[in-house]
Subunit: 144 residues, 4 copies
C-alpha cells in the first residue's frame, strides 16, 4: 500500500507549521512504500543541499521501516552496519527520516526532513507523521 | 532570482486544477533558477515513471531557458543538438517543461509536467506558469 | 499494492516453461508496483547483457503501466516521446516488458524478459503474466 | 566457472527455509563468478532497502573471494582497506555475503542475504552455501 497524496499533503502542512514554530527553513519530502517520491516542499531560504538529504532520509526510512537515526546508531565505525550508506544510491542515516505506518500497522511511506539541527529535523518529521499515522511498525507481519 | 515557494505552490495548484479538468493523473515539479527542486506533487495513480520525467523536464527548461519541446526540435538525428540529452545527468526534450519568467523578464525557475500525452503535459504546464509569470524570455540580458 | 512472491514465482515458472519450449535462454525479472525487484531468474547460457535489460524492461512496464513496445513506438526519432529512455536511470522501450494487473484492475507489478528476439521475449513475458493476471489497465482509476 | 541455475535455486531454497525458521523476511541474491546476477528472491515484507544490499553483498563476496564480514574487518577507520566500499559501484562489507566454492576449490559464485541482523543474514547465507558447496577458497590457484 502506498500513502495517498491527501495524506502526503497533510503531513507536509503539519511539518511546515512545526518548522515555522521552530524558526527553521526546511526541505520536506514524502515517499510511498516503494520509496518513490510523492510530494516535496522546500521552504524559502532552506539549504539547497537539504533537497537531496530530505529525499534520501525519506527513502532510507521506508527502505528499512525504521527511523533514520536508528540506522545511524548501527552504522558507526565498528558497528554491525558500518558502510550501509553505500547501498541504494546513498542513504542518510542521521535523524530526520521517519516511516509512516497506517492504522492497520502497514508501512505506507515515509517522511524526510532536512534544514536545521538533527533534533529539529526529527521534531518536524514527527509533526508530519503525527497527523497521518505512527512511526512504529509491528515486528511482523506488515505488508509492503 | 529564484521562484519562491508561494509562487511554486500557486503554479502547482493551477496545474492540478487543469490536470483534473483534463481527466489526467500528473506529476508536477517546480525548480528554481538554479535547477534545484522547489516543490513536487504526484497525483494519486500517476505513473511512477513520471516522477523523474517531470523533474527532468523542469530542469531542462531552466537549463536552457526555453520550452523542452523547442530543444527536442533541435536534438533529432541530423539536428544541431543531437544527443544533448546525454548532458546534465539526463534531459527530457519533449513538451511538458516550461520556463517561469517574472514580470521583469528574469528567469526565476521552471515547471515540468508528466503523466499523459505531451499535448496534455504541455497544457498543464502552461496552466501552472500562467498564474505566476510567462514563459518567454527577452533575448538578453536576463539574470539567473 | 505489490505483487507477492508466490505470484512472482508462478510467473517466472510459466515464463521459463515457455522459454524452454521456444528453445531460448532467458533472463526473467519481476518487479512490484514501486518498480523494486521482487524476483529474478537467469537461465544457464543466457546473455549476461540481458540481466540489466530484463530488469529495465520490467521497471519500464510498471513505470508507465503499459507494454514496453508501446513506449518504443512513441520514442522513435520525430516521435512524441523521443529520448524518454534517458529518464529513470535508463528505460528499455522494445518488447519484452509487460505490466501485471490483478483481477481488480490494479497495477501490482511487471515482468521483463530478455535473451532472444523481441518476439520471443514478448511471448515469454506474456506466458508469465497469463498465470497471474492480465496486462491491460483500465484507463482510470487504478491504484498504485 | 559459473554457478548454474540449478545450484542457485537450491541455494535460495535452502536459504529461504532457514530464514523462515528464524522468523525473518529476507532478500537473497546469487551471483556467478563474474559477479553477474543469477537469481534473486525477495520474501514478502522484506525491506525494500535490502534488495540492493543483498545483491551488493553477493557481488562483494565474489569480487574478493571471501566473506563480506572479513572485508569489513579490514575497512574500518585506520585499517588497510579503509574506504574500499567506494569501489565497484559500492560494496557492502558487513556479514551476509559468502563465496560459493565448488568441490574442486573453484570460486563459482556467491550468495548475499539481507533483511535482519547481520548474524541472521550470515546464518541464512551459510544455509544457502551449505547445499551447493563451501565458502573456503584454497590459497591459490583457483579459477574464475
Amino acid at each position: 500500500m502506498h500513502v495517498n497524496i491527501a495524506a502526503a499533503e497533510a503531513a507536509i502542512t503539519a511539518a511546515r507549521k512545526r518548522a515555522a514554530e521552530l524558526g527553521t527553513k526546511m526541505c520536506i519530502a514524502v515517499v510511498d512504500s516503494g520509496a518513490d517520491l510523492k510530494a516535496f516542499y522546500r521552504m524559502d531560504d532552506a539549504w539547497v543541499g537539504s533537497i537531496d538529504i530530505a529525499i534520501k532520509k525519506a527513502k532510507t526510512a521506508v527502505f528499512f521501516g525504521m527511523p533514520t537515526g536508528e540506522i545511524g546508531k548501527l552504522s558507526q565505525p565498528g558497528g554491525p552496519l558500518f558502510g550501509i550508506e553505500h547501498s541504494n544510491d546513498g542513504l542518510i542515516t542521521f535523524p530526520g527520516g521517519l516511516p509512516i505506518v497506517d492504522e492497520d500497522g502497514v508501512l505506507v511511506g515515509a517522511i524526510g526532513v532536512s534544514g536545521s539541527s538533527v533534533e529539529n529535523d526529527h521534531a518536524v518529521a514527527q509533526a508530519g507523521v503525527a497527523v497521518v499515522g505512527v512511526s512504529d511498525l509491528p515486528a511482523h507481519p506488515w505488508r509492503t
